[in-house]
């Protein structure tokens, strides 16, 4: 018998063909902004080390309208990334207590609690 299996190619726009893939690609895209913000903070630290004038310049750039818009954009994407990631944590880190699985919402809740605690510490240290 002559077999002639047909292979269908994956199209370049595969991620547009189902809402779950679109949601996934958005989650992946948001990590770019989280990374960009981390890079900018690192640059800020370098400018701080370089002296007063360098730091002032960095703060001025961050406070400009473009800087503020960029930070808002980063905040929105970081929140989206965190919320979708927290929702997945029960899969990656399931807990068993006395042979029974801990409910997923407890694991997700613990992450929000930790987020709130870390944010509170940062705000206190920053003197807000």
């Amino acid at each position: 018998m002559n077999r002639r299996p047909y292979v269908r190619k994956v199209e370049r726009n595969w991620w547009l063909q189902h809402p779950r893939y679109v949601a996934y690609m958005i989650r992946e895209l948001t990590s770019l902004f989280v990374g960009l913000y981390c890079a900018l903070l690192t640059i800020g630290l370098i400018r701080l080390v370089q002296g007063h004038a360098a730091w002032d310049g960095f703060v001025a750039a961050f406070s400009s309208p473009a800087g503020v818009i960029f930070q808002w954009l980063c905040l929105v994407f970081a929140v989206y990334h965190s919320v979708t990631w927290f929702a997945l944590t029960p899969k990656a880190m399931p807990l068993m207590v006395r042979g029974e699985p801990v409910p997923g919402k407890w694991i997700v809740g613990a992450h929000y609690l930790a987020w709130a605690a870390v944010s509170a510490v940062v705000l206190i240290v920053a003197g807000v």
Binding site: Y24, M96, E100
Partner: protein
């Protein structure tokens, strides 16, 4: 006139076709029919040349997986009534070569499955005279959900990484590896790591999560893979700090 449903089925006859094409069939609507019943009606009454796999008709054998309106589903587990008023588009599972009509070539999956050594590899073989390898219900509970896999490969059809890299070991095989790694009677984790922790193994997964969403048995392969990533990372770190000591 009684109600009917239109099926749009992807056909591919390797003897005559250079590429697949859609063919429409009109079948009677029955409230208690699943998509597989409609296909059986086509085969028995309209077109005996239509090919597809099925066996148990009760979501146990895992052989009747198809793309139904772009979603990987068991056709025996998918009611026609949920598609009332529209056309039901039926295609072979994505990411597999098409052998004929709705029949896919599964050889690559079978190779990947055997590659993760999905069987018990005892820590220490003992003679029959010493009896069974015992296990408590709590120890069974740790991995029980991963034993429910029926190898229907819906997860492979849902996973974009499988589509983009045909060598990716994939969700079901990695979930089954995790099932044996978690088994208290097993000592084969290192033997499986060669495949599981390779570039084509867990690290090819980007946690899309589609595999778990389409799984008809709630196996949750995405969870298994993320847990394996953590465990493989911990093993790597241990090996780095104390070479050879933890094995």
């Amino acid at each position: 006139m009684s109600e009917t449903v239109t099926l749009e089925v992807l056909r591919y006859l390797p003897e005559t076709d250079s590429e697949p094409h859609f063919q429409r069939y009109t079948v009677p609507f029955r409230d208690d029919w699943v998509v597989l019943d409609a296909l059986n009606h086509v085969k028995d009454n309209l077109d005996a040349t239509l090919s597809y796999r099925w066996s148990c008709h009760m979501a146990v054998c895992g052989s009747c997986g198809m793309m139904i309106n772009n979603e990987p589903k068991l056709s025996c587990h998918t009611f026609l009534r949920d598609y009332r008023g529209g056309v039901v588009r039926i295609e072979p599972l994505d990411h597999f070569p098409i052998e004929r009509d709705l029949v896919i070539v599964m050889d690559s999956f079978m190779d990947k499955l055997s590659g993760v050594k999905p069987w018990l590899i005892p820590k220490q073989e003992k003679p029959l005279s010493e009896g069974e390898y015992l296990q408590s219900p709590a120890e069974l509970n740790v991995f029980h959900q991963y034993t429910q896999c029926i190898n229907c490969v819906l997860c492979y059809a849902a996973c974009p990484q499988v589509g983009l890299n045909a060598d990716f070991v994939g969700p079901a095989a990695l979930a089954l590896a995790h099932r044996y790694n978690l088994d208290s009677r097993d000592g084969g984790k290192d033997a499986r790591a060669e495949t599981v922790a390779s570039n084509e193994g867990i690290w090819e997964c980007t946690f899309v999560g589609a595999c778990s969403q389409v799984c008809p048995k709630n196996v949750d392969p995405a969870a298994a893979i993320q847990q394996t990533k953590i465990s493989a990372s911990v093993d790597w770190l241990k090996d780095l700090l104390t070479p050879g000591a933890h094995r």
